[in-house]
């Protein structure tokens, strides 16, 4: 965008939100040219992304609406951004399109809490930690606890990026908890969904009524179809009884069967499954003397009633034994120490994982179907072993490990997350390039199994578009064209909004 055009647009935007909330200086712009480094290979090494032309901070849906109208007038993209924690460029402009970033983090209020309906209405810029804090005051929880330590991540980005979360096995993913949305459409119209589509309804939140479920197309859409300005999500009473349990299993198949049964019975709140054969040698050296060459499941369980809780733990033990499970004395220990797996305190969180495999510990942000998980992971391990020389040693692990494959079994329905952590040597461009190619190869291998998917797509749709049916792509394009004929909403997200060949 030319300087004069940028200045004109900045003036127009300032007329909407106020001077203080529009920035166009280089320093500010470049700090919005990057998101989470866990997707390192997508960002700093890529020449695909660039800084926004302007950054604007709206405070009301009406302001977002006016900004959308201005964007159509100026034919300039707008990209909504929350905590800036996406790993697939969802909230970073493409270099070739530029655009205006809508930093939504000032739209961060809790608007309404409906105790009887177990629902809370919030703005999308609210961050996970803040939401927990506010809900705790009401004695409730959001169930899903946020993306593993990224408590600074905003929920709006989680909705756009299909955020999986701590406690998903029990409560489902974030988007399974969304009831209603208020969305600013690309033409600036503000719509409400579900029960709120009836203008007489003010504070009753239900998703499946008044016609089709129009919430769905905005979930996981990375802002390609509109900007979410309010949403309602479910809340749950905080269970009084909870504990962390751990069992080891003779092999991965036994562990998976145990996990499935645990989920079917509704006993598990959150679970991390460790498959022995995927572990790096350094961890094997630690684990083997303690538990042998066995897989480990560490999980949280909870209940509202003491009697139910005791019975539940007994039932869990019985199921574990069916599959050769041996209890680890972790439960008593963690209970005594007051920690639990569902504790969001940096537990395997944002800082931890990336740093343990840092610098540039990159996560492939992929989910796999549990029964096929070994197949998915096996190929990734092969690729990493073949390319080990392209990877640097993990700094925190004394350079000992060059890659680390870790699986988190998330549920519901047997979904696992697979982390292929691959630290790269930033001082060697050749190795970085090779590591990037290897990373892409891993993701391609996941997709080729047919049993893995990228839960976030963002602007990294290249892995998927070639595997989607043409009819499916046409359908998405038709929605995009209808809603957003000027392609102002986050072009490139989901591979949409760009001219042919771009």
């Amino acid at each position: 965008m030319k300087v004069a055009e940028r200045k004109k647009l900045a003036r127009d935007l300032a007329a909407v939100v106020g001077d203080k909330f529009v920035r166009g200086d280089d320093v500010t712009r470049w700090t919005y040219a990057i998101e989470d480094f866990a997707g390192t290979f997508f960002h700093p090494l890529s020449d695909k992304y660039g800084p926004p032309d302007l950054v604007v901070k709206p405070h009301f849906a009406e302001e977002v609406s006016q900004i959308a109208k201005l964007a159509n007038k100026h034919k300039i993209p707008i990209i909504a951004r929350g905590g800036g924690g996406d790993m697939t460029g969802a909230a970073t402009p493409l270099k070739k399109t530029g655009g205006v970033i809508l930093d939504m983090t000032d739209m961060n209020r809790v608007l309404d809490f409906q105790e009887g309906f177990n629902a809370v209405r919030v703005q999308p810029g609210i961050r996970w930690g803040e939401l927990h804090h506010e809900l705790a005051k009401k004695g409730v929880t959001s169930g899903v606890r946020g993306p593993h330590g990224f408590l600074g991540a905003a929920l709006g980005g989680g909705i756009g990026g299909n955020c999986f979360s701590i406690n998903c096995p029990k409560y489902g993913w974030l988007n399974e908890n969304i009831l209603n949305l208020q969305v600013v459409l690309p033409n600036g119209d503000i719509i409400e969904t579900g029960s709120l589509a009836n203008t007489r309804v003010k504070d009753w939140y239900y998703r499946y009524c008044n016609g089709p479920d129009l919430v769905g197309i905005f979930l996981g859409s990375a802002g390609a179809f509109g900007v979410i300005t309010e949403f309602t999500m479910r809340t749950y009473p905080i269970p009084e009884f909870s504990d962390t349990l751990a069992y080891t299993f003779p092999d991965t198949d036994s562990e998976l069967k145990f996990v499935f049964k645990l989920e079917w019975h509704g006993y598990v709140t959150d679970l991390w499954g460790i498959a022995y054969y995927t572990l790096p040698d350094s961890l094997k050296r630690i684990i083997t003397p303690l538990v042998g060459e066995r897989d480990i499941a560490i999980f949280a369980t909870e209940a509202y009633d003491k009697g139910v809780f005791k019975a539940q733990k007994k039932a869990i033990d019985k199921i574990a034994k069916e599959y050769g499970g041996v209890a680890l004395p972790l439960a008593g220990l963690t209970h005594a120490l007051g920690i639990s797996i569902k504790n969001e305190t940096e537990w395997m969180g944002g800082g931890t994982f990336g740093k343990v495999m840092g610098p540039n510990g990159s996560d492939t942000c992929s989910i796999a179907h549990l029964p096929q998980w070994r197949k998915v992971v096996g190929k990734a391990l092969e690729i990493m072993q073949e390319n080990e020389d392209a990877l640097s040693g993990s700094v925190p692990l004394i350079g000992a490990e060059h890659f680390f494959l870790f699986a988190q079994i998330l549920g519901r329905g047997g979904i696992s997350n697979t982390f292929a952590m691959t630290p790269a040597d930033f001082s060697d461009p050749e190795k970085m390039k090779k590591a990037q190619e290897m990373y892409n190869e891993i993701v391609e291998s996941y997709m080729d199994t047919g049993y893995a998917a990228l839960y976030r797509i963002g602007k990294e749709s290249q892995f998927l578009m070639k595997r989607f049916k043409p009819e499916y792509i046409s359908f998405m394009k038709a929605i995009k064209k209808t809603l957003d004929p000027n392609n102002i909403m986050n072009p490139g997200a989901l591979g949409l909004g760009l001219e042919e060949g771009e």
């Binding site: 200086d25 480094f37 537990w347």
Partner: protein, 412 residues
């Protein structure tokens, strides 16, 4: 470019957003970056600074007045680093603070590291580059010029440094030295006086040194590394020459600089370094400090960032305050490692006084919530700043250094 030294920091930052704005009830954090809380754009957060460093290092950005303006808007409070400690809070939950401190040290011995991203060091290094390029804000150029000329940042004659000691007859040599620091020597002399009287009252033989120069902390925070080095080398030589075995200071800034920064320039120090709160806690536990007079007040303690988060001194000031008869010590939330900065640090009070006051003002409701009538601190900069903040807010809360409260209770 000095920033080359921070290449690893720029790459290892995950950009996870915890340092920008996070709340974590379980580890006591309620929002992190005081500057981001005020300015609300990404460039005013540690993540933003690390991003700028990244783009400076890869040549996308070049140093400019805009960048200088950005990197000098930081209080160096290190809340960003505190929340960035991977597994740190988990370790603390398992084995308390000792484990949190011990594990990284043990790992360090093997060459492994679980350190946080040193975002403050990144900012200070960018500031040092700004100094080299003449981009430092004028207010801080004046500070540096004053230190070069007068060995203090206030344009005061060096000859007046110990003017406050007149009539006190404090020796000029002893095993223990009270390192007064520029602020207490020239601006908040009640802290220097209280410290001196307490030490005498407790029977501690100590000296003050007319040859004491600026500790270098304001220079290091502002990027004037070379001038700081001159100050540090002078002070270390002086203390060695005087065969000092123990250095005590009532300044949180000074304590951090002397303990942490001086050895980087002058090697291991041949004397013990104590913040006065540590010495007082020790004297109280040994029964050498008689706190006779009641101070019937509800007191809340403000953790100076550089004494608390950076140096880990949380318990001693509280132990001292709790030992004063009549004092009811109440905690502000968030507290200790997660305490909010007063706004004065990192030269912000000089370069952006309105922003510094706004940051301090943001903490006033938290202080009021405690019902305290006295806000105690152990840093002359925090004290001076809070006096201004509370005056602006028209809040009748008294601000005292812990040395003043102790001296009052001792009746000295």
């Amino acid at each position: 470019m000095r920033l080359e030294e921070c290449k690893q920091e720029a790459w290892i930052c995950n950009h996870c957003s915890m340092c920008t704005q996070a709340v974590n009830d379980e580890s006591g954090f309620y929002r992190i970056c005081p500057v981001y809380e005020q300015l609300r754009f990404e460039d005013s957060s540690a993540r933003g600074h690390n991003t700028i460093a990244f783009y400076l290092l890869n040549g996308t950005l070049e140093y400019s007045g805009e960048i200088a303006d950005c990197v000098y808007k930081c209080t160096t409070c290190a809340a960003c680093e505190e929340v960035c400690k991977p597994m740190g809070n988990m370790l603390a939950q398992i084995g308390g603070t000792p484990l949190k401190i011990a594990i990284p040290s043990i790992m360090g011995a093997f060459g492994a590291s679980l350190d946080p991203v040193r975002s403050v060091e990144v900012v200070e290094t960018m500031r040092a580059d700004c100094v080299d390029l003449g981009l430092q804000p004028e207010a801080l150029k004046k500070v540096a010029a004053s230190v070069e000329l007068n060995y203090n940042p206030y344009d005061e004659p060096h000859a007046d440094r110990l003017k406050w000691t007149q009539g006190l007859d404090i020796p000029r040599t002893a095993d223990t030295v009270l390192f007064v620091g520029c602020n207490a020597a020239y601006r908040n002399q009640e802290i220097a006086l209280s410290s001196a009287k307490i030490l005498r009252g407790a029977g501690v033989e100590y000296a003050v040194l007319p040859g004491e120069w600026c500790c270098g902390s304001p220079l290091l925070r502002a990027g004037n590394v070379d001038t700081a080095e001159v100050m540090i080398r002078h002070n270390v030589e002086l203390l060695k020459e005087k065969k000092v075995r123990r250095l005590v200071t009532a300044c949180a800034e000074g304590y951090m600089a002397i303990s942490r920064d001086w050895p980087k320039f002058a090697g291991a120090l041949p004397f013990e370094v104590l913040h006065i709160s540590q010495l007082l806690a020790r004297l109280i536990s040994e029964g050498k400090l008689k706190l006779k007079h009641r101070i019937d007040s509800r007191v809340t303690y403000h953790d100076p960032c550089h004494l608390g988060r950076v140096m880990g001194v949380y318990d001693e000031p509280r132990a001292v305050l709790s030992a004063i008869p009549g004092v009811k010590l109440v905690e502000t939330y968030p507290t200790k490692h997660a305490a909010w900065c007063c706004g004065a640090g990192g030269g912000l009070r000089d370069t952006n006084p309105e922003l510094a006051l706004a940051i301090g003002a943001a903490k006033v409701p938290l202080i009021k919530e405690t019902g305290a009538t006295v806000l105690a601190s152990s840093c002359p900069f925090c004290k001076a700043h809070f006096i201004d903040v509370l005056r602006e807010a028209k809040e009748p809360i008294e601000v005292k250094d812990i040395t003043e409260l102790v001296a009052e209770s001792m009746g000295v």
